[in-house]
């Protein structure tokens, strides 16, 4: 009786046979293991005492596990400075990028103006230029603007990379928001700008979250741009800083692993936090189609 009813619940949820479901689950579990295992290995390496670095032991928690690598990394290296620099630069490029993209996308979505189509196409073509090609021109611009070795210069450089993508994402999303909502706000007493940030922006959180995440990850993970633009060690972002862990006589693999674990945390936290904004369907019900 009980199993019967439970089976019917499953049936309703998905019309697949138990065998097929088992296969699907097996594949999913395998994929999970494959993506999580390397990370766990890194955690394991970071916990090893330095005399066991090259051990081939496969235990996740190595014998004699210690937080020595973390301690050394945080107190004997400039790791916290690098992390802070990365956070500031990434947050700034998210902020600058979203502000530029949110307003530009609104114009592309709502107004007809000469060059609108070409503008959108142009933005798309910028995405096809390999990042390496942009290094030199951006370097020259940043130097001329006297923004070399500054947070501002880095934020601008990263925004340039992510804004076109963000504009496309946001424009596509704005297009699905009924114009009547803004018109209702205009009649209710809003200026066009107020209608934009009181009605359109709150309704665009899923797209803003995606664009924001994209901007953040672009800046957070970048090595090339930072390598070229940052010369002062106290301005290094973590990817450049990590280089320092390697280019002495020997690589501090334990610390390297510990650093990798630590830099994953902000990105992970951001993904988890923004997932609540990714819930779509916010616009449902405001207007009747």
């Amino acid at each position: 009786m009980r199993t019967g009813s439970r089976r019917s619940v499953f049936r309703r949820a998905r019309g697949d046979s138990p065998a097929k479901r088992a296969v699907i689950h097996a594949v999913l579990i395998l994929a999970c293991v494959m993506s999580v295992y390397p990370f766990l290995r890194v955690v394991s390496v970071s916990l090893r005492p330095s005399n066991q670095l090259l051990s081939t032991d496969l235990a996740l928690i190595p014998p004699g596990a210690s937080l020595e690598n973390y301690r050394a990394l945080i107190f004997e290296r400039d790791f916290t400075i690098w992390l802070w620099n990365s956070l500031v630069v990434s947050a700034a490029s998210v902020l600058v990028g979203l502000m530029l993209a949110a307003t530009a996308a609104y114009a592309f979505s709502r107004w007809k103006f000469p060059g609108r189509r070409q503008g959108l196409l142009f933005l798309l073509t910028t995405q096809m230029i390999p990042a390496g090609m942009l290094l030199l021109p951006i370097y020259i611009m940043v130097v001329r603007l006297k923004l070399f070795n500054t947070y501002t210069g880095m934020a601008i450089a990263y925004s340039v990379g992510s804004v076109p993508f963000s504009i496309w994402i946001l424009k596509g999303y704005y297009d699905t928001i009924p114009r009547e909502l803004e018109e209702a706000a205009l009649v209710d007493g809003a200026s066009p700008l107020v209608a934009f940030y009181r009605v359109v922006i709150p309704l665009s959180t899923p797209a803003l979250a995606i664009a924001g995440l994209f901007s953040f990850m672009t800046a957070w993970n970048d090595y090339m741009m930072a390598r070229v633009m940052l010369q002062k060690p106290n301005m290094f972002t973590w990817p450049v800083g990590f280089q320092k862990l390697m280019d002495q006589f020997q690589t501090a693999w334990g610390q390297f692993a510990a650093a990798s674990v630590l830099v994953a945390i902000p990105a992970l936290a951001l993904f988890l936090y923004s997932s609540k904004w990714l819930v779509s369907g916010m616009t449902l019900g405001g207007v009747k189609e």
Binding site: L186, V187, M282, G286, V287
Partner: protein
């Protein structure tokens, strides 16, 4: 004072002339209906009054001010949209309070107005809900509430009932009329539904292809349509139109439709003079054609024997789809009629209520 005045207003979208030289006065506290088929320029007219579309030519006055260059927020109007346009991210309370907050009303005043409006509309128990948790009828009320709390000079409504089911629509029709009595504000109401136009408004404006066709009280337009379009658009089932010639014989006036003829009242002499022996459009409403069995002393010169194609019993009455020669028409007759599909039946044309139109200009002959 909230008179609205359109002075030779034209709106063009590229080559499309959506509204063509419209001049129209909406009086203070009037419930005015803009009605016409889809695409005739009703919404555009309303949106120009709201300030959501720019005027191409002409002037719009609200009160005594020309508002052409005044943005919507400063026009002191409220609008109810066809799809309601409720803010999906705000609950019902905040949807209604939004306009007052933007205008920096004190918190207590906002609260008072929102609660009052909610009470009028019977939605007090929904204030915490989001729009997506409401039924169509409830959303409709919230949209109205959002307009009411503003206490604007003019209400603009663009087909606010067209997304409701038939029963709710009839109910809301009466409620809106009641609301107008209570609020005593100017309302401009757009609809494509002639029933709404007939039942709700103080005056009706009939539009077609961007042109205003006729302005008047509902019964005035019903009884005295200015042209064939208005005659056919207002009234359901629609007026019958038959091609005919006006004849004068032995001092009598006849409408001759070739396969039958009926006598016109002599009072028509004054107006049809120049049309004698000419082709006209003869219009007669279905309710002005009766079953002879229920008209005692029907004058024989108004009786027509017609073939009945289809009978449509409506309960209180029966629609007869009838043919005589090349002409087809609908008659609305007594429910007790003995006419049956395929039979032939005697009908009486009440030509006192007949409408005659110039064939070329389509204008009423008066």
């Amino acid at each position: 004072m909230a008179r609205v005045y359109l002075e030779h207003v034209t709106k063009k979208f590229g080559n499309v002339v959506a509204v063509n030289d419209a001049t129209l006065e909406i009086k203070d506290k009037e419930f005015l209906i803009l009605v016409g088929p889809s695409g005739c320029g009703k919404s555009t007219t309303l949106r120009m009054v709201a300030g959501l579309e720019e005027v191409t030519e002409g002037n719009i006055y609200i009160g005594d001010t020309i508002v052409n260059d005044i943005p919507p927020k400063d026009r002191d109007i409220a609008m109810v949209f066809q799809n309601y346009a409720l803010y999906p991210h705000m609950d019902v309370y905040n949807n209604m309070a939004f306009g007052l907050k933007l205008r920096k009303f004190p918190r207590a005043e906002i609260d008072k107005r929102v609660k009052e409006a909610a009470a009028i509309l019977g939605i007090e128990n929904l204030l915490k809900r989001k729009p997506k948790e409401l039924s169509g009828g409830q959303r409709q009320r919230v949209a109205l509430g959002r307009a009411i709390v503003r206490e604007p000079k003019v209400f603009l409504m663009d087909e606010p009932l067209s997304n409701l089911d038939a029963k709710l629509r009839v109910q809301m029709r009466a409620e809106l009329a009641k609301l107008h009595n209570r609020l005593q504000t100017t309302i401009i109401y757009v609809t494509h539904d002639q029933t709404e136009a007939m039942t709700m408004g103080d005056r009706i404006v009939v539009m077609k292809d961007g042109f205003i066709q006729q302005v008047g009280a509902p019964m005035e337009i019903y009884d005295h349509p200015d042209n064939v379009f208005v005659a056919g658009f207002i009234g359901s089932p629609a007026m019958n139109f038959l091609d005919a010639v006006i004849l004068r014989e032995d001092g009598d006036l006849w409408v001759d439709a070739k396969s039958f003829r009926v006598k016109l009242p002599l009072t028509r002499f004054e107006t049809v003079g120049e049309y004698i022996d000419k082709e006209v459009i003869f219009g007669i409403r279905p309710e002005d054609i009766d079953d002879k069995d229920f008209v005692p002393n029907a004058p024989p010169d108004r009786i027509v024997t017609a073939d009945i194609d289809v009978t449509e019993p409506m309960g209180s009455e029966v629609y007869l789809y009838a043919t005589v020669g090349p002409h087809s028409f609908i008659a609305r007759v007594d429910a007790r009629t003995t006419a049956r599909d395929g039979s032939s039946h005697q009908l009486v044309f009440n030509t006192d209520k007949a409408h005659l139109f110039d064939k070329k200009t389509q204008k009423a002959i008066r």
